[in-house]
Symmetry: C6
Subunit: 76 residues, 6 copies
């Protein structure tokens, strides 16, 4: 995972920032478990587990806080 | 989910900001589990589980932090 | 729940801000489970569960962070 | 619990701020479970449960963030 | 625990700040369970429990946020 | 672990900041469980546990918040 995937925290819109927050949340998982095959096997399990879904949404929310601040909340 | 749902973090009132925080929290879940049928099946289970309800409230609280800051806390 | 319950984040005192943080934390639960009867049934269970009590206190703490910032920490 | 317990977030020292963070964390629990007898019964259980102890420390950390910011980090 | 252990949030280096974050995280546990013998008994259990280790790292991360802000991120 | 591993929070790029957030998250674990052999034994277990992976991603997200703020979000 030495390729460039996080060149900037700046995005054009809040929604693009939310998408970036999702990417960051997934990357956080991938750094701990780099084996894509294992992740694929886990997905159907946690994607039907409400607790895991809520926890995933929380990680996205935390990463979005960072991105939103970086973009000065996309205020004009 | 490529349609526009997060055009701005700015809301007229704190309560509208809280509503947006709820939308963001749900979107965070949906990006992980896009199948609405699965989500519908999960809802009656976690909606009667105190831990899941408290966890949901926490995600909303984190998203509301971001929105409140974006709106400069709706101070006049 | 379309009635107005969050008109402002500004409170006269820190303690009133803490009370508002509790209200927000409960509202976060209610948006996910709007049925008051279900909530009433859950309360005796989680109110005797240390983990749930600590988790509730955490949601209050997060909401209080937002309110305290909004009030500029009630500094004179 | 209508008596005054949170008159100010300002403390003389960081350690007094930490003490206040503990008080706030406990109050968050108490608002959800006001019955002191129940809390007394729970204490020996969660005080020997590592997960609950770590979670308690986390709530204190979050409340301390607020208090430290309020005190401008006690910088001279 | 009335002795002075948190005289200041200011440290010379980021790493000293990280060490202080660890101290604060442990103190948060100790305020809830002051009996050192109990803590000693718990340690071998949670120190081999991945969830508890990750949760501990999270508390340290939250306390470090506070300390880093207090030190203006040790920017020159 | 008295050697220097956190000399600065400043990084050249957001991605280098993310890498540092991972390092900090792991150090947080190591301070609680310094025995590398135990950690090696735990890894295959939690690396296949979705909840632990999401929790790890959350700790990284929190540490990244600190680093991003330290770097003024790498804004030019």
């Amino acid at each position: 995972m030495s390729d460039l995937w996080l060149a900037s925290l700046i995005t054009d819109t809040p929604q693009a920032g939310f998408d970036l927050a999702i990417t960051m949340s997934r990357k956080g998982v991938r750094y701990t478990q780099p084996d894509v095959e294992v992740l694929k096997k886990l997905r159907p399990v946690y994607a039907e587990d409400a607790d895991a879904l809520i926890a995933s949404s929380q990680v996205i929310a935390i990463n979005f806080q960072t991105i939103a601040a970086a973009n000065n909340y996309w205020r004009k």
